[in-house]
């Protein structure tokens, strides 16, 4: 049994709130630079230049990449031999979010109730997912998720008969209908299988992969490559103004499912595809 004081978790979350919002990951940054080289439209090149310059400014000046500093989504991988002391895990995470968003000049975008809509003024509460694992490790991943891209996401309960082609067409259709709204170039997370809510979780988790990281199963790796190519022929382009660079990558996660079902979820992320992890 290893003891871990939740104060350490608060401190780590606070740091990640700021770091994730100021520094675009190197994988995304490099992919934007590569895409700039292959973009074919003038307006597309121009927009990519501005997006790259924006990432440089935010990093150098430690200011938010985007004013929408997101919903605080937190994934915890908790080793079952870790004993958390010093208070509640949820409270510790929320305290980290509160401190990070206030001290880091990040925007507070959360309303307390979806219909009565009063701002909580500190960006809490976070959405927290905990996975229990064997061992005594503790890993936190912090994902600030912007509203514009989240709003273009969808879960569809398809028929098993729709098969691979039906799933691919749904994904393409979802991206096409999103147009400029999710701030393309986008990252596409796909969850196939499981139950209704499991597919959505898979799609969100898929977005945690590094740009360029393919599925370990060659079947899904091939599907990811094919979808990326098809998406980049739609023509939406940077900011929807026309061009090749509609998506930076497509990530698929699959899960066993019921003989009657074929749930498919598409979770869209924008070019401000932010996430940071820490192991305590």
């Amino acid at each position: 049994m290893r003891e871990l004081n939740v104060q350490e978790i608060t401190a780590a979350v606070k740091k990640m709130c700021m770091a994730s919002n100021y520094d675009l990951g190197e994988d995304v940054y490099n992919c934007l630079k590569e895409s700039r080289k292959t973009e074919t439209t003038e307006v597309g090149k121009n927009i990519l230049d501005m997006i790259i310059e924006n990432a440089d400014i935010s990093k150098n000046e430690q200011v938010p990449i985007c004013q929408d500093t997101g919903f605080a989504v937190v994934f915890i991988e908790l080793g079952q031999e870790v004993h958390l002391i010093g208070g509640s895990l949820n409270d510790a995470i929320n305290e980290g979010v509160r401190q990070g968003y206030i001290e880091g000049y990040l925007r507070k975008s959360i309303v307390e109730d979806p219909l009565r809509r009063v701002n909580t003024k500190d960006n809490t509460p976070a959405v927290i997912y905990i996975d229990m694992l064997p061992g005594d490790s503790f890993k936190i991943t912090f994902v600030p998720k912007g509203g514009g891209a989240e709003n273009m996401s969808e879960v569809k309960m398809m028929k098993p008969a729709d098969g691979e082609d039906g799933v691919k067409d749904f994904i393409i259709d979802r991206v096409t209908r999103s147009g400029a709204n999710p701030c393309p170039p986008i990252v596409v997370g796909v969850g196939i299988g499981g139950t209704f809510e499991k597919s959505a979780m898979l799609a969100k988790k898929a977005l945690l992969r590094e740009i360029g990281e393919r599925h370990t199963d060659p079947y899904y790796a091939g599907m990811e490559r094919e979808l990326l190519e098809r998406i980049n022929r739609i023509g939406i382009g940077p900011q929807g103004l026309g061009g090749k660079t509609t998506a930076l990558d497509v990530f698929i996660e699959a899960h066993p499912c019921h003989i009657a079902s074929l749930p498919v979820a598409v979770n869209i992320n924008c070019h401000a595809a932010r996430h940071k992890s820490a192991t305590l």
Partner: protein, 184 residues
Amino acid sequence: MKVITTPLSNTDVEDLRAGDTVKITGIIYTARDAAHKRLVDLLDQGKELPFDINGQLIYYVGPSPAKPGQAIGSAGPTTSYRMDPYAPRLIEAGQKGMIGKGEMGPEVVEAMKKHKAVYFAAVGGAGALIAKSVKKSEIVAYEDLGAEAVRRLEVEDFPAVVVQDAHGGNFYVEGKENFVKSLS
């Protein structure tokens, strides 16, 4: 590249075509969902708006808090279709343009054609870069809304692209079609 100065006249609006790259200088006002609801409620009650909307541009933005020494925090556009229910009323009241991201609906396009207004896209997710073109920012109404308050911004060379114009032109459609044609 066209340089435009606010406020805009009908002729200024009619000169702008979908696809034009522009730099905007002058005063622009900010408002998002919650502020729009209040502005339209005022119009419904026959009351005055908290600022003179004639010839003005409204930028759909909820900036992040300014750090000490900054005029404004990061300040990129939010998605515009959420303002579709409100924009036609404000255009009718004299607003000459919107700045946001993503396509606006047919009811807005109708109002733009009828009353002469233009819609610009700013670069979504480039909030740190766009903030550089904002020289001054002050809250003019609805301070209680925080990031969603109405602000009066003084901007210089604010980068944008005309995406939907007063003639029915739509660059979201044209830009995509041009690219697809270039593939064949």
